[in-house]
Symmetry: C2
Subunit: 357 residues, 2 copies
Amino acid sequence: MSTRLRIALDAMGGDHAPDMVVDGADIARERCPNVDFLFVGDEQRINALLDARPALKAISQVRHTADVVAMDAKPSVALRSGRGSSMRLAIDAVASGEAASVVSAGNTGALMAMAKFVLKTLPGIDRPAIASMLPTMRGDCVMLDLGANLECDADNLVQFAVLGTVFAQTVLGLLEPTIGLLNVGSEEQKGHEAIRTAASALRATPLARNFHGFVEGTDIAAGTVDVVVTDGFTGNVALKTAEGTGKLFGEFLRRTFQSSLLAKLGYLLARTAFNKLRQRMDPRRYNGAMFLGLQGVCVKSHGGTDGLGFANAICVAVDLVQHGFNEKIRKELALLQESLQAASAAASGSDPQAVAQ
Amino acid sequence: MSTRLRIALDAMGGDHAPDMVVDGADIARERCPNVDFLFVGDEQRINALLDARPALKAISQVRHTADVVAMDAKPSVALRSGRGSSMRLAIDAVASGEAASVVSAGNTGALMAMAKFVLKTLPGIDRPAIASMLPTMRGDCVMLDLGANLECDADNLVQFAVLGTVFAQTVLGLLEPTIGLLNVGSEEQKGHEAIRTAASALRATPLARNFHGFVEGTDIAAGTVDVVVTDGFTGNVALKTAEGTGKLFGEFLRRTFQSSLLAKLGYLLARTAFNKLRQRMDPRRYNGAMFLGLQGVCVKSHGGTDGLGFANAICVAVDLVQHGFNEKIRKELALLQESLQAASAAASGSDPQAVAQ
């Protein structure tokens, strides 16, 4: 008998909840055969949706609560007064071991605050980060932080590099993912202090061999590195700028194909090829921002997504659990601590290696 | 007799200088009939290029120097030891009143340091900013700062809003350009302190009526506002991320059209329409980053551009001079100072209006 993996779902989070949550679970069910679900939210509405999906119903459990975190609630308020909310109870299910991970399309700030409070950060991680995958010329890359920490010091950035590396190994399947620190230029003297200190610090860790140095905004889509590390303010702006530019380009493409009879005809011929491109660039493919650095797997789906997008977020959560993401993080962090201690000991003249000999 | 406008050109700056500088001037000459040029650089090479272009030669003067600022020189080094460089002498020509503006495709940091040192900032401006135009769903917008100031306080951001507004009025021809502060969310409590203070400060100025509030990365390409204000680190990353995403999309488009025989045929039919799109998105159309806030007009061309791109940078410089950009800035800054003083006097209970009555 194979062990089944239980995923807790905040059934009430997101613009089209609970419908798209149940839809998403139904799609994910077919892709990940060993998964079952714990839906948290309005029992009556969820059950009505499950009744129409017997195969899903058979692997689902529902936990009722009428309380929901509002999409525009302040994180601090949600944390204080949302103890009975669908979001909070779904996170609690991970903390208690009932579920292996949690997926929510609700309020990002509230989810981060609750997840951090309930699950706590991993040893060696000061602050969790939000990470996501992005399309590049050379496959996908991962970028973090995307908004959990607006201001970051050098230590935070080094920790993000560890988190991002293990994520790229686990989800992108890369053996030795390369790392870049997002900056305004690639030269060593560029950028502000935190980023330059982080670059020196990274060179003294086991990650040094895969550390590419500074990268610029153009390098993200160029796929220059597999892991793009940055503070949450810059990362959030960069991610959304890329999204906006993609939409602009898509709109210009649409207008171009409609601008003349010949162009319309051209579209008819190239349609199959363009459908493939559309699939490749589908934002739903990149749905699922991971909260990394917590003692538990928590995935945030885009609030406006549909069932297909939500299913992708669920599958990312399943991937992270099945590949032992957090166990790998723990190991890498232990190695990092060792090397940092060795470096600082060496710097102060008491090299532990030398003493041992 | 109409007055002619003289533009000083750093003939040695950029990857393909001096050829593309002379090419660019030749293209700009046809577009802007009342302009003549002062080329600064290697006399022999420039004259050889001018000899082949008699019409350009007739409106050009050459100032010789063998000294060139290296593309990778540190700004501080260039400032100290580049006093005889083509870049510096071209800026000097603006300071002395010989030229109305300067255009260079050389080292950005060195150009900013020299321009600031030689031309000085306008009264009321603490730091100059780099601005550029970007394509959006609703025409072009202007974004600043793009890298001159990695860290900015609230005062800097408010001054950038003034600079950007007058730029949008002058170059984009908008009567009442709307302003947005780039942030990680549109809600009032979002973002770090400098940006929130800047938002409150802007609401107390004459710019308040056009101040849209916070905008996100997606809003840049959406064209939500005409002027996007941000610090130089974020702005630089956002601009380059948009550039990179545009390139990625272009590459995917190319691959899509080549992916099958039908798609290739489709491209042949839609080619005319796509050539228009290509022209619309041509990075050379957006060449010319303006250094705003200086007592003189200084335009930075992309280092890797060709003659057409350089001509666009020249035309932006001409536009700024002909529309009295700096005079407008002076007026707006005076109004801003007045309203800020009135606001602070009102806040301290000694309303000058009330006293006067």
